[in-house]
């Protein structure tokens, strides 16, 4: 008899706690809203908007959001590509990808063969249009990623991506090109990621193209959910990873993930 009674008391207490939490969070919400009201009225508007538009002509692009992303605050974007890559590498570190889904039937396959090229073309368009209208590398990369997801759903275990070696180059393309452009500009005396106005448009397009590829590949690879399957994944004898063959392994390799149904 005592156990259920104790359980009751436990649930009762957790209910009380939830109630308390609800009250506290409501207070927090109200307080935040008031603070937000005060902040809106602080008279900071137009904030950075006017300045951003004023400098727009010398950014190399006409779309102000792209100007912020790839020029004013390009450094943020560079690091954010690094964040995406870090997440993907973290996923890869957890183990090999689960096997894909079974091959799609004829109808789905036919649809995929239409949709995927369409997505890729749309992605390319998005990339180009980003220079002067809403669009850009992220939107384009997201479309490419979506294409990868569809391909994987249709049965390709690699989501349409190449083998591991090539995939790695695709994944690093964004940050690599971005960093090299930045350092190159610095080497020529312009300063890190300081584009000369005449070159800005083309440098940004170059970076965006690389970023689109990297984002698309990273999103698709993340959906695959592990190190890519394929011949590359198998260990090779001539590997140079560990400089010393050394004594006993520090930690045994992680057991492979259970294949999913």
């Amino acid at each position: 008899m005592s156990a259920p009674a104790g359980l009751d008391r436990a649930t009762e207490r957790s209910r009380d706690l939830r109630l308390l939490l609800a009250v506290l969070l409501t207070l927090l919400g109200v307080a935040l809203t008031l603070v937000y009201l005060i902040a809106l009225n602080a008279g900071a508007a137009p904030r950075l908007a006017d300045l951003a538009y004023e400098r727009l002509p010398s950014t190399g692009v006409q779309n102000p959001v792209t100007a912020v992303l790839l020029n004013y605050r390009a450094y943020d974007t560079l690091m954010e590509l690094a964040v995406l890559l870090a997440a993907l590498l973290g996923i890869w570190a957890l183990g090999p990808a689960p096997p894909g889904f079974q091959r799609s039937g004829a109808v789905l396959a036919a649809m995929v063969s239409w949709v995927v090229p369409l997505l890729i073309v749309t992605g390319g368009y998005m990339l180009w249009v980003g220079g002067y209208a809403p669009g850009g590398a992220f939107q384009a990369g997201a479309l490419l990623g979506a294409a990868g997801v569809i391909v994987r759903l249709a049965g390709d275990p690699r989501a349409g991506l190449p083998g591991e070696a090539a995939q790695r180059w695709l994944l690093v393309a964004g940050v690599l090109v971005f960093t090299l452009v930045g350092l190159g500009l610095m080497a020529f005396g312009a300063g890190f990621l300081t584009y000369p106005p005449t070159l800005a448009k083309w440098l940004i397009l170059l970076i965006e193209a690389a970023a689109t590829v990297a984002i698309g590949a990273a999103l698709a690879a993340a959906y695959v959910g592990g190190r890519p399957p394929g011949p590359d994944a198998r260990p090779t004898a001539e590997d140079e990873d560990a400089l010393t063959p050394a004594q006993t392994p520090a930690n045994p390799p992680a057991p492979p993930l259970d294949p999913r149904p």
Binding site: A39, A42, D76, V172, T179, M186, D241, L243
Partner: protein, 492 residues
Amino acid sequence: MSDAALTHPLVLCIALPLLGAMLVTALPRWSVRLGILAAVATAAAAVALAATVWQQGTLHLMLGGWDRQLAIALRADGIATALVLMANLVALGISVYASGYFHDRVRVRSFWPLWLLLWAGLNGLFLAGDLFNLYVMLELLGIAAAALGALTGNRDAVAANLRYLLVGLLGSISYLLGVALLYTAYGTLDLGLLAAGIADSPQLLAVNAAAMTLMVAGLALKAALFPLHFWLPPAHANAPAPVSAALSALVVKAVFYLILRLWLDLFWPITGMAAAMLPALLGAVAIVWGSWRALRAERLKLLAAYSTVAQIGYLFLFLPLLAATPPGPARDDLLAALLLMAVTHGFAKAGFFLAAGLVQTNAGHDRIDDLGGTAQRLPATTFAIALSGSALIGLPPSGSFIGKWLLMQSAIATGQWWWVIVVTTGSLLASAYVFRVLSRAFGLEPTPMRFITDARAEVPALTLALVSVAVLGLASGPVWTLLGLSAAGVGA
């Protein structure tokens, strides 16, 4: 453009590890060699940065050459430079150690890119002068750290690091809301401009206080300030040794650095005595509680992880003392002491974890009660534990001894004597847990024939530990110089 050339190390500290991360990702077969190359290059950039700041004072760079409001600023002042230097030297030591630590091919390939990305995030965080950029850096750190922490792939590690990731995300979102409020009220993200804005707008007290609360609370979660420390011990204790070292010595420290920045630079008009008391009280509890748990820990790495909880507590004790000390030599001393504690702990804790990892590898486990033979077999490693342990306790001659000396001095001088009791209690408990480990090294095991058995692993650990004791404890004057404080006026 000699002025521009001066700021190059500022960029290189971030760009080089980033570039290195890309190369090791793309060329996994060369991971170790490229990784070490990138590590050495990055550390060299950090040394160059320190040398430049030493000569020229604070460095500023508006990326993209835009107006201050629009651009993202990088800046290296004394505090940032001291921490960058510490972090990069420690990271170099960790890299050398790691080059021999992982033997499994998959681990090697996973470790190096994530490690270099983490490194880039660390330097980026120390050098950022923009609130939103700091958010991105926090996320880069959080994601890379959680991924690295889960590298062993065992259940405990995955569970602990999943929790770490989620908690970290919550912390960053809270921080980001604070940033959004500040942008709403002041229309800029630049730290310097915001600081000026906040100082000029006492009428926006509610906004300032709310933003500060959101940001500091979110960061306190990531810095594992008691009682928000629950995620740290399992995450740090279950990671591979070089990762534990980086997480405990550097990542947590970086987040604390950001808190300090916000506290001192941005929100100084509202971070008076009243505001400082709460974090300091939590810090005091962290010291006692963390040390106590470290004393009770069964495993060496868990002990080290709890010790980090305690050591973070010490840093928060400085806040009310800073609030109570008017600008002048006494406050400068206090600031330098704070920095010295943080830097010393960085070196010491990294050395401790690396040595602990070696003990674990050799013994096949890290249960403290059964360590006897292993500790005695590896004199250099035991020495590293002893040296870093005495820095954790705050015994002379270590950097933290000077730190604690100045901390207690200030506590007595400002009449806040109760912190002295906290510090002494913490030191006693720390002695107890450190010597609980060291006493295992004095058994009836056979005599080791050599001082060093595995140089690539033992030398980094021993060097880091030695720096925390001999270098920082006997020649901490440069910390004052780097902070731009005049050593002449310093006295009682």
